[in-house]
């Protein structure tokens, strides 16, 4: 490419310079065009023939600004052979090429450039460029030798348009939908540039044309018109939310070539870097003049209806993956020594948005040291549907010996074809960890005691045994039974007190009565004794008298008669603080009474004196006790 460019320049220079080159040194200025639009650029070339430059002084380029500069010496690296001998073609040609854009409109004159050859300054010719206003629709192609003409035609939207297609208009959440953008054209396109990519809001997108060199091209007939179609972009979308989602239109700029009846057919036009459009669009470009026209295109937007996944039977641990999937787990060995690494490889393969599955829920025994898994993705977009496999590689270091179990790994996804949730489960993996050789194990396990690690916090388990319930509000406290039970001891206590009081009262009453009546009864008996005395009934007199005395003590001091004897009577009187004289007298009379009963002599006299003594002693005792 570059080489051919150089050749072109050389020929150009030769053509323009040849009339002058046979003589002395000459500096020639040429412009690629003398008329131009403001949005175009031209090349201004200064060529030196017949000499070697020592110094070059560039013109001022008033009214232009320089956007590029190249210089070539010795005829662009060409060697000229003459008669089999290598000769220097007149000392070689040198050229200085400026790419300039106009800063204003109108006729602009470019000053001569100067070059010093063999100590002499040589000036070039001046150039006059006619700069016109930029015409709409024309574009600056920036190709060095492209002839730009004023826009004289436009591209109809029937000839060139972009359309977006979705393979489905209604999908389920997480299901793949493929959107293809196609250019329909009936005119050749030299290049295109995507100006605005849709943002795909609400979708997870994956470019399906990554690494595709060539856009797919084919013919398609639309409304009876035959179009050449190029698929410029193909995207796999995975909706991340339900509802009506829209895909914004894609905007792109196309440079189309339209045939114009222009004399300025330029055989050097169209050095495109774009590989897509090299061959099919360039078939006729050398036959006529072409105008390059830029056209902005906008595709249609898409509206996609995303339905939610069925909420019925939706498992809690649903991973969000929709498609089809299979899981394979492999442990490289399951009998190891402590601190020897094990690899657990879990491979997920299937169709769908595998990139979404970035975490696996693997429950390792807490004594295992597990490193973050190494995840490798192998995703293929070749078939248009995203498929492939994803591998999670866990490096495990069992730190302590024992038999361990890695719980079955489960992964729930929605099967697109069966329309149900499917849970993949790996088998339970058991690992037998033997005692390590001591070197590494001792560092972690035996040297330091381990604290109990709390792995998670959870609530306590339910009460399984107690199943009884009570009606609301049926509490013992504040219930009738409660108050009744509270009242019960109070009532009992009150009853107890009343009972006790009455007993005490009753008890004290009889005693008091007896006490009060003691003297009376005694006197009554003494009266009876008096009657017996007068009747000289000695026996009855003494019986009655001793009864009066004994009865008096018994009643007065609440002592049962059966308990009374002379000694106890004496003690009782002592207790009741009766003076010793009366006490002794009382005992003496009692004694005499007993004695006199059985002594028959001197009856009357003694009877009378005993009687008087008894009356006296009772009244004396009565007085003492008061």
């Amino acid at each position: 490419m570059k080489r051919s460019l150089h050749i072109v320049f050389f020929i150009l220079i030769l053509l323009t310079v040849s009339p002058f080159c046979s003589f002395a040194q000459k500096l020639t200025a040429t412009a690629s065009s003398t008329t131009m639009a403001t949005n175009n650029s031209i090349q201004v070339t200064y060529s030196l023939s017949g000499g070697k430059s020592e110094s070059f002084q560039q013109p001022s380029f008033n009214g232009f600004s320089i956007i590029g500069f190249t210089t070539s010496t010795g005829g662009s690296g060409m060697t000229i052979y003459y008669n089999g001998k290598k000769v220097d073609a007149g000392g070689g040609n040198e050229s200085w090429m400026f790419t300039v854009v106009p800063a204003k409109t109108g006729k602009i004159t470019i000053d001569p450039a100067k070059v010093k050859v063999k100590g002499q300054w040589i000036s070039s010719n001046t150039l006059t460029i006619d700069v016109s206003k930029a015409a709409a629709g024309t574009t600056n192609t920036k190709q060095p030798t492209t002839q730009q003409t004023q826009a004289s035609g436009d591209v109809s939207s029937n000839d060139l348009f972009v359309k977006a297609y979705a393979d489905k208009s209604s999908v389920m959440l997480g299901e793949q939908i493929t959107v293809t953008y196609k250019i329909y054209t009936r005119i050749p396109i030299t290049q295109y540039a995507i100006q605005k990519l849709p943002s795909f809001t609400g979708f997870w997108s994956n470019d399906l044309m990554k690494g595709v060199e060539k856009a797919k091209q084919y013919n398609e007939t639309v409304n009876g018109q035959k179009y050449l179609v190029a698929e410029i972009r193909k995207v796999a979308l995975f909706p991340q939310k339900s509802g009506k989602l829209t895909v914004d239109p894609l905007e792109l700029d196309c440079v189309a070539e339209i045939q114009v009846k222009s004399k300025a057919a330029n055989p050097f036009s169209g050095f495109f870097n774009d590989p897509f459009f090299n061959d099919p669009f360039f078939q006729n470009q050398f036959s006529f003049g072409y105008q390059q026209v830029k056209k902005s295109l906008k595709s249609n937007g898409l509206s996609i209806n995303v339905t939610d996944l069925p909420s019925k039977d939706k498992p809690d641990d649903f991973s969000g993956f929709v498609g089809s999937l299979s899981m394979d787990s492999k442990l490289d060995r399951n009998i190891v020594k402590a601190n020897e690494p094990i690899n657990l490889t879990i491979t997920l393969s299937g169709k769908g948005n595998l990139s979404l599955l970035d975490k696996l829920n693997v429950e390792f025994p807490p004594d295992f040291e597990v490193y973050d898994p190494q995840i490798t993705e192998n995703i293929s977009t070749a078939t248009g549907e995203i498929s492939g496999s994803k591998t999670f590689n866990y490096l495990i270091l069992p730190r302590t010996p024992g038999d361990f179990k890695i719980k079955p790994i489960t992964l729930t996804y929605f099967d697109k074809n069966k329309k149900t949730y499917v849970t993949l489960t790996s088998g339970e993996i058991s690992v037998k960890v033997g005692k390590g050789d001591g070197s590494a194990a001792s560092i972690t396990s035996s040297a330091s005691k381990e604290d109990i690690k709390y792995i998670g916090s959870d609530i306590k388990f339910i009460n399984i045994k107690t199943t009884e319930v009570f009606p609301n509000g049926s509490y013992f406290f504040a219930s009738f039974a409660y108050f009744a039970l509270l009242l019960l001891p109070v009532v009992l206590f009150i009853a107890f007190i009343i009972l006790m009081r009455r007993r005490i009262k009753l008890h004290s009453n009889t005693a008091l009565l007896k006490h009060k009546r003691a003297t009376k009864i005694a006197l009554k008996r003494l009266k009876q004794a008096n009657i017996f005395m007068k009747a000289a009934d000695k026996n009855n007199f003494y019986i009655e008298l001793s009864r009066a005395l004994w009865g008096y003590i018994s009643d007065k001091f609440s002592i049962p008669l059966a308990n009374l004897s002379l000694d106890s009577a004496h003690d009782t009187l002592t207790d009741k603080h009766v003076s010793e004289a009366i006490r002794n007298k009382f005992i003496e009379i009692l004694n005499n009474c007993e004695f006199a009963r059985f002594a028959p002599a001197e009856a009357n006299v003694t009877m009378e004196s005993i009687y008087n003594d008894a009356v006296a002693i009772i009244s004396q005792t009565e007085q003492e006790l008061k």
């Binding site: 916090s457 406290f477 019960l488």
Partner: protein, 251 residues
């Protein structure tokens, strides 16, 4: 003595016997819970609750089931209900703490004076009905000692029975007060759990008034007052404000 205990025993037995029809539903629910069918378990426990029956164990199990379904506000509500019925169970306290780590709001609790703390702890040693029984028994013992005191003639016996009687009277009063305070908290609750994801606490009972702070689902609040459909609530750090009545459920 015997003839007073027997009626009490009969009374309690009657409560247990009358509850037996629901014990199979609860057993079923417990089984559903053990089989990790938590929604099923909730349904069954709720059946019993809706029939107007309760027990600390029932509320506790229901709270557990709600927790497992990640419905933390309901879990806290039922744990708190269980705690009211049986404040002596450490499991309930533990679960409430676990729940509180799961909810949005982390509120720094206002420190209580130590004696208040002790009093609450002491009151929560037993359930309300245990306190009630203690008070009944101690009152009985008090009167018994009083009777002995009155009958006894020896000074030593009278002294001993007098002080013992006084002690039992004190225990009766304390346990009665404890039972009453628990009874009040059950029958006339002033606490509620927030059930809306986000609740703006207002400065006055008016939807247009100033928002003071925001609380979230599962937070326990104390109800201070009620005006119309608005509740004056206080959160654990002592801040208070008004919330709409429907956003919280009374424990």
């Amino acid at each position: 003595m015997k003839k007073f205990v027997i009626p009490a025993l009969i009374y309690f037995q009657s409560l247990i016997v009358s509850a037996s029809p629901y014990s199979d539903i609860i057993s079923q629910a417990n089984k559903a819970y053990t089989d990790a069918k938590f929604n099923n378990a909730i349904e069954l426990y709720k059946q019993v609750v809706d029939k107007g029956y309760q027990s600390a164990a029932l509320y506790y199990n229901l709270g557990d089931a709600y927790f497992k379904t990640k419905n933390y506000a309901s879990a806290i509500l039922y744990f708190e209900k269980a705690k009211k019925l049986d404040p002596s169970d450490p499991k309930i306290d533990f679960n409430i703490q676990v729940c509180n780590t799961k909810i949005v709001d982390k509120i720094e609790e206002l420190p209580q004076p130590f004696y208040k703390h002790w009093m609450t702890d002491f009151c929560n040693l037993f359930t309300m009905d245990i306190w009630a029984i203690v008070s009944v028994v101690c009152l009985f013992l008090f009167f018994m000692f009083m009777a002995v005191y009155l009958m006894a003639n020896a000074v030593r016996i009278r002294k001993a029975t007098f002080w013992a009687g006084l002690l039992f009277l004190l225990v009766t009063m304390v346990s009665g007060v404890n039972a009453y305070s628990q009874y009040r908290s059950i029958s006339n609750s002033h606490e509620a759990i927030i059930f809306e994801p986000t609740v703006n606490v207002k400065s006055s009972p008016d939807a247009n008034s100033q928002d003071i702070f925001v609380i979230h689902e599962g937070t326990k609040v104390k109800i201070l007052d009620k005006v119309g459909n608005w509740l004056d609530v206080r959160i654990a750090n002592g801040s208070d404000g008004w919330i709409a009545e429907g956003t919280a459920q009374v424990i």
